[in-house]
Every structure is written in structure tokens, then in C-alpha cells.
């Protein structure tokens, strides 16, 4: 009986940040930092850098989609806002990248506000419809604003590398980028999962997601917290976008194309939405798998799409649920003995 109540309680709180302690988290980050010293193949370093950047995007999306329960499909718009914002400030106005990158994040946060305001009047699927429409409308908008310096179809070229007190971190300095992105990603993920979601704000997100009317009757302001969820998620994703722009030195509307959207979605689907290491783990698995699939050519996107369909069907809560499933199985077999 006691076991049963514990199991139900476990199920009720299953989307809370798991017992993953912050010590474990920093130990893994430290492990990755040590790993960086031994990886000297530039391609491997490049893949890991992409993993870190995508982990930020996946975590940011997980915050709004998984924990706040808002069906936001415009996440890559924030990524693009950060990339274009920072890239244009640096390339067109000559702002130093160290200043431009945070400004890019802030610009993305502002976009988050713009998109959130109409969304907060809507419910459920209407939000999904609206945000996805915004996502689809972005590439034509970038083409239309070519004369503002977005670069149109060819993209924004010549984004300067980061210049830190005389040291230039160019796209070739993979090791420097490795540590920079690792640092930003670990701090961003720590802030999302260990600070925001474990404080009052995160509890409000989950309460509004699980029972909006009840949460509101307790005095949780849905407007304020949904806006906060949107904006913080947009700001963090925008930072990843800004870093990405300075890392690759080129931004094209392709970052809003099917491929990137699909990648981000597979990450959440495979990893598991609203369960802590899920989205981050998904980002690593999918980024590496995507690189391994490069040889598959045109088949790659088809396989990614199939991966979404199959994981949602076969493993609806993502790979993080595997552990729980094994534990349940383990407990059952032990109980039989």
C-alpha cells in the first residue's frame, strides 16, 4: 500500500525536476571540460560545440513547452532573432561581439514579449497555430527586409569573431569555442533547471500547466508567469543563436528551415519533454546522430521525421522514462522473489 502511494506520488510529480543534484550536474560539466583537453580532432570539437549550443535551445524550449505547458512552436524564431540581432549589430554597426551577443539575447527576449502578448489571450491549440504561423512567416519577412541589412536569401555574411581583451576567438579556435559554449550552456541549463524551475517561478509554471483555474484561484498570476516563461526562454535561446552566429560567422534563413526545426523537435521527442536531463540528453544524442547520418544524404531528413513519429509512438515520455521503466520492472521482479 505504501509503495503504491509512493508510486502515485511519483507519477503526480513526474515532471518536477528529478532528484538530479546540482553536484552531479557540475561533475558532468567538469568531466566534459576535462574531456575537452583530450579531444584534438577539430571535427569532433565542432560536433561537441554544436551539442552545447543545441542543449541551450532544447533546454529553453523545454522550459516553455514542457514545464510551462505553453504550446510554443516559435522557438527557432528566438534563435534566429538572437543570431540576426547580434550578427547585424556586429557586422553592420561595428558593435563589439562581447556586447553584441548579450544584446542579441535581449533582442530575442523582446521578440518573446511580442509573440507572447497575443498568445496570452489564447488557449491551447490556438497558441500552437499562432506560433507556428509566426515561424512559417519569418523567412519571407527576412527576405522582405533585405534592405535593412538582413542579407536576404544569401544570408548575413562577415560576422566578426569574438574579440576578448586582445585575444581573438576565431571560428578556427575550436578549443576556445569549446570552453566558451560549454560554460554558457552549463550556466544556462543550471539557471533553467536548478534555479528558475526549483523556485517559486517554476512551481507557478507547473501549477498553471497542470491546473490553470485552480492555480489562478490560489492567486498565481497566469499572465505574469506565462510572460516570464516566454521571455526567459526566448532570452536564453537568443543567446545560443547569437553565439552560433559568431561561431559560424554566417547566418542564413536556413536556420528557420525545416531541418533545424525538425532537429529541435526530435531532441525534445527523443529526450522527453518536461523531465530534466531529457531535453539536454536529447540534444546531445540528436546532434551526434545527425552528424553520423550525413552520409545518408537526402534520406537524413526523412529518417529524422521517422525518428519523431516512432519515438512519440513507442516511447512517449522520451528516453528518460527508460530508467523509470527499468526500475519498475526491477521492483516487480524483486517483489516476485
Amino acid at each position: 500500500m505504501k509503495d503504491q502511494t509512493a508510486a502515485t506520488a511519483n507519477q503526480m510529480t513526474r515532471r518536477q525536476p528529478s532528484a538530479f543534484s546540482s553536484l552531479t550536474f557540475w561533475a558532468i560539466v567538469g568531466g566534459l571540460a576535462v574531456l575537452g583537453m583530450f579531444v584534438d580532432d577539430p571535427y569532433m570539437q565542432h560536433v561537441l560545440i554544436l551539442c552545447f549550443l543545441w542543449a541551450i535551445v532544447a533546454a529553453g524550449w523545454d522550459l516553455v513547452l514542457g514545464y510551462a505547458g505553453i504550446y510554443n512552436y516559435a522557438q527557432l524564431v528566438f534563435f534566429a532573432a538572437g543570431a540576426y540581432g547580434s550578427g547585424m549589430l556586429a557586422a553592420k554597426l561595428g558593435v563589439s561581439p562581447i556586447v553584441a551577443i548579450p544584446l542579441g539575447g535581449i533582442f530575442a527576449g523582446f521578440m518573446g514579449l511580442l509573440i507572447a502578448l497575443p498568445c496570452l489571450r489564447l488557449r491551447g491549440e490556438y497558441i500552437a497555430l499562432f506560433t507556428f504561423a509566426v515561424h512559417l512567416a519569418m523567412p519571407p519577412l527576412i527576405l522582405k527586409t533585405k534592405h535593412w541589412g538582413t542579407g536576404g536569401n544569401t544570408g548575413l555574411l562577415g560576422i566578426p569573431p569574438i574579440d576578448l581583451f586582445g585575444f581573438t576567438i576565431g571560428p578556427r579556435d575550436k578549443l576556445a569555442w569549446f570552453y566558451l559554449t560549454l560554460a554558457v550552456a552549463s550556466v544556462a541549463i543550471y539557471i533553467i533547471y536548478f534555479i528558475v524551475l526549483r523556485r517559486r517561478m517554476g512551481k507557478a509554471f507547473v501549477a498553471l500547466r497542470d491546473s490553470e483555474d485552480f492555480a489562478r484561484s490560489l492567486g498565481v498570476s497566469d499572465f505574469r508567469y506565462k510572460l516570464l516563461a516566454f521571455m526567459s526562454s526566448a532570452l536564453i535561446t537568443g543567446l545560443a543563436g547569437a553565439l552560433y552566429a559568431h561561431y559560424t560567422t554566417v547566418v542564413t534563413p536556413k536556420i528557420l528551415g525545416n531541418e533545424f526545426f525538425l532537429l529541435a523537435m526530435v531532441m525534445l521527442a527523443i529526450g522527453g519533454i518536461g523531465r530534466f536531463p531529457g531535453a539536454v540528453l536529447g540534444a546531445f544524442i540528436v546532434t551526434i546522430a545527425n552528424e553520423l547520418l550525413r552520409s545518408a544524404g537526402n534520406m537524413r531528413l526523412l529518417l529524422l521525421g521517422l525518428a519523431v513519429v516512432l519515438t512519440v509512438l513507442l516511447l512517449p515520455s522520451g528516453i528518460v522514462s527508460l530508467r523509470e521503466n527499468f526500475q519498475r520492472l526491477w521492483r516487480k521482479t524483486r517483489a516476485k522473489q
Binding site: 497555430l129 513519429v309 509512438l313 512517449p316
Partner: protein, 290 residues
């Protein structure tokens, strides 16, 4: 004056096809509460299947090709519901899961179409040639035929939903799934049927618009976006709202294209969406679902 008649009739013909597509999207949402993100990709797939059946490969005459197309699309839709959507219903957050799965499906279909048919748009000859003069305005007979066919389909749907027993069951499920199940309606059959019907409708729209827009692997997304806006304007799940919205927006589009230029079509649709959502977020005839 003649010019305006031309625009008006062209706009109505276009609207009628949008209407068929939006009707399908709204029908699934109304009964099964599923937002089908693969609707646009199914539109393209329907057009490709029609192309293969007629000019692209088999060369069947229309009398044979159209019934075959309908059977294929219906089977595909019902199978999709059974294999991909139904297993997710028992999940706690099935809404999120079905959105994910239909989006994934959309990308699978798009990329499969791209692999099979290549990136170059396929032309489809209009099955009726020539022009007709109405009040001095010259209108292609194909557009008139499209208008006629689309209106006939809409009328048939309305009669089906209002008068037949099965249509009434569909409406009952969309009003109250649980209540319908309690009075003995097999809800799963209705879900499968509406999914099949919805795929038939979007595929037919793809077939009807193919001679006007050509068939390209990603061509369905624009239409999907328009169907979206129509459905939101009319109210999710309300098929009558969708009909009114489709004709309003289709006519606005026709006049905007004529006066401002075709490149403004999509921005206009989005601005309309935004305005509608700000003024009346639940759409013309929609209801909030608690």
C-alpha cells in the same frame, strides 16, 4: 467593372477550394480534438498521387482516376488514425504528443515526396480548357469548373452531416465524445472515418489546385497556413464558421493580390490572423474548450 467580376469569380473559386481544405482540418479538430499539422503535406501528397494516376504514370482517364484517388486517400487517412494517432489517445498529455506526431509525419511526407518526385515542380494540365465570358469578363472555364466541383463537395458534406444517420453520429461525437459513446456510437469508427474524410478533402483540394499552382514538395505549407487562418477565423472545430471565413478571406486575398501584388498574400493572411486573434480569439463561431 469587368475586371472586378473577373477578380470576384476567381476569388470565389479559390475560396471554395480553401474551404474544402479548411473543412477537413476543422472536421478532425471538431470530432477528435486533434490539430493535424500534416494537413498541408497530405494536400501535396494527394496532388502527387493524382499526378501519378493521371498524367504522371498510369495515364488513367479521370472517371477512373478520381474514384481511385478518393479510395486511396480515405484508406491512407483511416490507417494513419489507426496506427499513428489512436495509440496516443490514452496518454496523459496526448495533445502535445499528437501535435508532435503529426508534425513529424508532415516532415516524413515532405521528404518522401522530395526523394520520390524531386525538387522541380510538376505541371498538371487542366482537365477543362477554354474560357467563358460572363458579363463581358473573360474567365477560364477551369476556374469555373473548380468552383462548381468545390461547391458541390461542400453541399454534399453539409447534406451528409445534417441528414444521414452516420453524419449525425459525427456531429454527436464532435459535440460530446463521452455522451456519444454512452448512447452507443462507436467513437473510434467515427474518428477513423473523419480522419479518412479529411485526408480525402485535402487531397482533392491538392488535385483541384494543381493545374493552377503546380505540384512541388513543399507547396502544401502555404495552403496549410491559409487553412489554419480560415479555421482560426471561423473558430476551431466549427465547419460552418470555416465556410464563412474561407469566402471572406479568399475574396480579400483576391482583391489584395490585384491591387497590391502577389508577394503580399502571406503577410496579409498573417495580419488578418493577428487581428482576428486580438479581437475575437475564439474565432467567429468557436467555443473555448475547458
Amino acid at each position: 467593372m469587368q475586371q472586378y467580376i473577373e477578380i470576384f469569380i476567381g476569388g470565389i473559386a479559390q475560396s471554395a477550394v480553401y474551404c474544402i481544405m479548411a473543412f477537413g482540418l476543422s472536421l478532425i479538430y471538431g470530432t477528435a480534438r486533434i490539430l493535424n499539422f500534416a494537413h498541408g503535406s497530405l494536400y501535396t501528397t494527394g496532388a502527387y498521387v493524382a499526378w501519378v494516376l493521371t498524367v504522371g504514370g498510369l495515364g488513367l482517364p479521370l472517371v477512373l482516376a478520381v474514384p481511385l484517388l478518393i479510395v486511396i486517400l480515405f484508406t491512407a487517412g483511416a490507417a494513419l488514425e489507426r496506427v499513428v494517432v489512436r495509440p496516443l489517445r490514452s496518454l496523459r498529455d496526448w495533445k502535445m504528443s499528437t501535435m508532435m506526431v503529426t508534425l513529424g509525419l508532415a516532415f516524413v511526407l515532405d521528404n518522401a515526396n522530395l526523394l520520390i518526385f524531386g525538387p522541380v515542380a510538376k505541371p498538371m494540365p487542366a482537365f477543362i480548357d477554354g474560357t467563358v465570358t460572363i458579363f463581358g469578363a473573360i474567365i477560364s472555364s477551369y476556374r469555373l469548373a473548380v468552383l462548381g466541383i468545390a461547391l458541390a463537395v461542400l453541399a454534399a458534406l453539409e447534406i451528409f452531416l445534417q441528414t444521414t444517420r452516420f453524419g449525425q453520429a459525427v456531429r454527436a461525437v464532435s459535440q460530446d465524445t463521452q455522451g456519444a459513446a454512452q448512447v452507443g456510437i462507436d467513437v473510434n469508427i467515427i474518428f477513423g472515418f473523419t480522419f479518412g474524410l479529411s485526408v480525402v478533402l485535402t487531397g482533392l483540394a491538392g488535385f483541384l489546385l494543381a493545374p493552377i499552382y503546380l505540384i512541388s514538395p513543399l507547396g502544401g505549407w502555404v495552403l496549410f497556413l491559409k487553412a489554419f487562418v480560415i479555421v482560426v477565423f471561423g473558430g476551431l472545430g466549427s465547419t460552418r464558421g470555416a465556410v464563412i471565413a474561407a469566402f471572406t478571406l479568399g475574396l480579400i486575398e483576391a482583391f489584395v493580390v490585384h491591387h497590391v501584388g502577389a508577394s503580399w498574400t502571406l503577410p496579409i493572411w498573417l495580419v488578418t490572423l493577428l487581428v482576428v486573434l486580438m479581437i475575437r480569439p475564439q474565432g467567429l463561431m468557436g467555443v473555448w474548450e475547458k
